[in-house]
């Protein structure tokens, strides 16, 4: 096990460096955007004199590298500063939103991962049958449709026509869990439809890929039933690619939900990021982006550790 820990430690170290580089890239990108925060805040109401006053108040007259290092100084000790627009602590404004985003992602993942993997096993078992074809067509259709379109379709049938679920997913922290699950069912379902196909196809491909191997042949020859061949013999060896795809999709559930948030008016982190970019609110943009980046880094790491644990050969790279 020790070797796994050393890999994790090494990867976390690289992850931190990656985050640092990303923060620099984001800072430069925000600087490159046309107009600055003072202009974005005042909009059509900007004049020379109130622009100058606002710039002075926000400290925009300092040179760019100095502003970056001032931010960095706080960030390394966990202080992400205050939003330039609202003057509120970035941590305070992001935390409830991020919790919402995580809850929705978790909700979707709890449905999507088991469904996708069992579907994948089933279509591998019944490959090239009608069932396989139908499952493929349906999941491909859902992955090929844009999320907002899927969302609108779901709203039309499950909310406007039948009234089963609310059309907007406004949630508050004090809402009871069951009500919350009901309120967020449609956005979660939209996300499920978007991610299922990818994971299912990968499960199917990984399993079928192994079916030609001699040891599967052997299992068949000794008379093992088809489902057992797949679940007992093929699946354990195909975990590595499946876990990787699952991790990627989980990351997507956290970082790719802006459209779903907009369609269902869900108070998640995506909308916050979009608003912050349009106002050039650098500390908020930075914090949101770093959260997204960290999500990718951690989930990738988790996927690698998972693959290693399911396949001991990977622990001893040649």
């Amino acid at each position: 096990m020790l070797d796994v820990f050393s890999i994790v430690a090494k990867r976390l170290g690289f992850g931190l460096i990656t985050l640092l580089v990303i923060s620099l890239i984001i800072f430069i990108a925000v600087e490159l955007l046309p107009g600055d925060i003072a202009q974005a805040v005042l909009g059509q109401g900007a004049t020379e004199s109130n622009l100058a006053a606002l710039r002075a108040e926000l400290g925009l007259n300092d040179p760019a590298p100095m502003r970056y290092f001032n931010w960095l100084k706080g960030a390394v000790v966990g202080d992400f500063g205050v939003s330039l627009v609202s003057k509120e602590s970035v941590t305070d404004s992001i935390t409830p939103r991020f919790v919402n985003t995580l809850m929705l992602a978790l909700y979707a993942a709890v449905i999507a991962v088991p469904v996708a993997i069992s579907l994948g096993v089933l279509v591998a078992l019944f490959r090239n049958t009608l069932f396989d074809r139908i499952a493929n067509v349906l999941t491909f259709t859902s992955i090929s449709s844009p999320e907002f379109f899927l969302g609108y379709i779901l709203i039309l049938y499950f909310s406007v026509k039948t009234g089963w679920f609310p059309s907007i997913a406004t949630v508050s922290p004090e809402m009871p869990l069951f009500e919350r699950l009901e309120r967020t069912f449609l956005p979660a379902l939209t996300l499920v439809l978007v991610v299922v196909a990818h994971m299912m196809r990968m499960t199917r491909a990984a399993i079928i890929n192994l079916l030609a191997s001699p040891y599967i042949e052997m299992a068949k020859l000794k008379g093992t039933p088809a489902w057992k061949v797949i679940v007992r013999h093929a699946l354990p060896n195909s975990w590595a690619p499946i876990i990787n795809v699952v991790a990627l999709n989980l990351a997507y559930l956290v970082t790719g939900v802006v459209l779903v948030e907009v369609v269902f008016v869900y108070p998640g982190i995506g909308q916050l990021l979009v608003d912050a970019v349009s106002k050039r609110d650098f500390p908020v943009v930075q914090a949101c982006s770093l959260i997204f980046a960290a999500t990718f880094i951690l989930l990738n790491l988790a996927a690698d550790v998972g693959s290693i644990l399911t396949n001991p050969r990977l622990r001893h790279p040649k």
């Binding site: 955007l33 046309p34 107009g35 202009q39 974005a40 805040v41 005042l42 909009g43 059509q44 109401g45 900007a46 004049t47 020379e48 004199s49 109130n50 006053a53 606002l54 108040e57 939003s83 627009v85 609202s86 003057k87 404004s93 409830p96 609108y152 709203i155 909310s159 406007v160 009234g163 609310p166 059309s167 907007i168 406004t170 907009v262 369609v263 269902f264 008016v265 108070p267 909308q271 916050l272 608003d275 912050a276 349009s278 106002k279 609110d281």
Partner: protein, 537 residues
């Protein structure tokens, strides 16, 4: 008493009674004074008034668009629809635009000026309180206005108070505003959504961070870009505020907004997508309000730059636009075709006898020829963030102008940074202006020779002379004449094409009632639906 007069009195009584400013007893007394019998008056109350009489109670949920996580409580940087809607609900102003688009009292009960209109006195409501119980006094009013003045002010409306020299208290409930020039419209300016009344701190600044105010509802919880919950402020000094609770829910996506109204998640929405308006109107449970406003679309050209420095080129462009077609095809009929002066029909002093310039490609070609040109190639910049359909409108205008030999090339600019990089920078652009209450305000910010936002760089000596004169004129007839002449000048010499004034189109559940008239100042009855509307059933 003539029948005609009687009928007018009767209508006025019903109108007042319906808005809730009169009790049943008062209604009967006045009706009898107007010559009606008790039974007739009583019958009238039952049939015409109480059916539309405001009822107390309920939670009014408003789905509001353009509400962002970056919205703050700082009145100096108010800019979004969400902030405007909220500020009229939890805060208050010295004066207000009434549902009939007149000027009415809010925190000030009366106001008067010296004959030169350079010193104004506002008497404040003596029974007004802030949400925490503090009394509203002159020092609060002064601090609130001073927030928008002075060197270090970051307010977007600093320029509106440029001519103010001093604001002083005269006793606890009177303020005196001194200006360095006559300014007859000052009480109108006080309705601007930035000038909210807030509690003063000891150092003379205002306490805006807490979200407190003296408006009809006080904030219980507020999450920028998500929503706000409010309850009635019992100490509110005015009539109205029929709902017990108000909830604003941010619904920026048009589809989400309309679905929320249809499925009963909200009772009212502040904007309807014009493309699907007809479908909303077909729904028997929904009422759509389509209210003409003073919000103009302007196409300013730099009149100090070729080819727009030639008045005939400007006239050619003004004749080459088919406003009716634009209103019909781009706005789906929810706009009022403009003429080329920036005074909407609903504004005070709006001229009524200037004939609207028709679409006439021949005349346009004639003016082009008179300018010594056989054809004209220009670019017109627009972005859909300014108005959905802005670029389409420019494409259609371009087609219309082709018949006159004018080639307008529509340029789609980036949504982001349009106000800082395109407006006032490029010579011919698409602009949308929020409504201003009076012609003076509109002309002073965007047409005066030295105004920073003189978007057409237009210099007309007579116009500027009249503008100054009218500013200080308290006689309404004389002012109307001056504005008439200024409109004529802008129309025939100015550098701005005004295709139309956009309507406010919003919708509500049919169980929400409102008065016969609704203000055209902002969406939802001048952003005052929270205290003017009620649950009818």
């Amino acid at each position: 008493m003539t029948d005609h007069l009687k009928r007018e009195i009767k209508e006025a009584l019903i109108r007042d009674a319906k808005t809730g400013s009169m009790s049943r007893r008062q209604f009967l007394t006045y009706s009898m004074a107007a010559g009606m019998s008790v039974s007739a008056a009583s019958g009238l109350w039952t049939s015409d008034v109480s059916a539309a009489t405001p009822k107390q109670g309920g939670k009014f949920r408003i789905g509001v668009h353009d509400s962002n996580t970056s919205d703050t409580f700082d009145p100096g940087t108010y800019v979004s629809v969400g902030q405007i809607q909220l500020s009229h609900t939890h805060r208050s102003y010295l004066t207000e635009i009434t549902p009939e688009n007149g000027l009415g009292p809010d925190m000030a009960t009366e106001w008067s000026a010296t004959p030169d209109a350079a010193t104004w006195t506002f008497k404040l409501a003596e029974n007004a309180t802030f949400h925490d119980g503090r009394k509203f006094t002159a020092k609060d009013a002064i601090a609130s206005l001073n927030h928008h003045r002075g060197e270090s002010s970051t307010s977007a409306v600093k320029s509106l108070l440029d001519s103010v020299v001093d604001i002083k208290a005269d006793g606890e409930y009177t303020i005196v505003i001194e200006l360095n020039q006559g300014f007859a419209d000052l009480p109108w300016v006080m309705t601007d959504y930035h000038f909210v009344m807030l509690p003063a701190k000891d150092d003379g600044t205002i306490e805006w961070e807490s979200g407190i105010g003296a408006g009809p509802y006080k904030i219980v919880s507020h999450e920028p870009g998500i929503g706000t919950e409010l309850v009635k402020h019992d100490g509110w000094h005015r009539e109205g505020a029929y709902f017990d609770e108000i909830q604003f829910i941010t619904l920026n996506d048009p589809n989400a907004r309309q679905t929320a109204l249809i499925t009963g998640e909200v009772d009212s929405i502040t904007s309807v997508d014009l493309k699907t308006m007809a479908l909303m109107q077909r729904n028997p449970d929904i009422l759509v309000d389509n209210i003409p406003s003073g919000s103009a679309i302007t196409l300013p050209m730099f009149t100090d730059q070729a080819p727009f420095d030639n008045v005939d080129v400007r006239l050619a462009l003004k004749y080459a636009i088919d406003r009716d077609e634009l209103v019909e095809k781009i706005m789906f009929g929810t706009a009022t075709a403009g003429d080329d002066y920036h005074v909407s029909p609903g504004m005070p002093y709006a001229p009524t006898d200037i004939e609207r310039r028709p679409y006439d490609p021949d005349k346009a070609a004639f003016h082009l020829k008179k300018a010594g040109l056989s054809s004209l190639d220009i670019e017109l910049s627009a972005a859909d963030s300014v108005l959905p359909g802005a670029v389409d409108m420019c494409v259609l205008y371009s087609e219309q102008a082709k018949k006159a030999g004018i080639n307008i090339k529509p340029v789609r600019e980036a949504n982001d940074g349009y106000w800082s990089d395109v407006w006032l920078k490029k010579p011919f652009v698409f602009v949308k202006w929020g409504a201003r209450p009076t012609p003076d305000q509109m002309f002073s910010i965007a047409y005066k020779d030295d105004a920073p936002w003189n978007e057409s760089h237009w210099q007309n000596a007579r116009f500027n002379e009249l503008l100054l004169e009218a500013k200080a004129e308290l006689d309404d007839t004389l002012r109307a004449e001056m504005y008439h002449e200024m409109c004529q000048l802008a129309r025939d010499d100015g550098g701005t094409v005004i295709p139309f004034f956009a309507n406010f189109v919003y919708a509500r559940n049919k169980n929400i009632g409102h008065g016969e008239a609704v203000s055209s100042a902002w969406e939802n009855d001048g952003a005052r639906s929270a205290h003017r509307w009620w649950f009818a059933s």
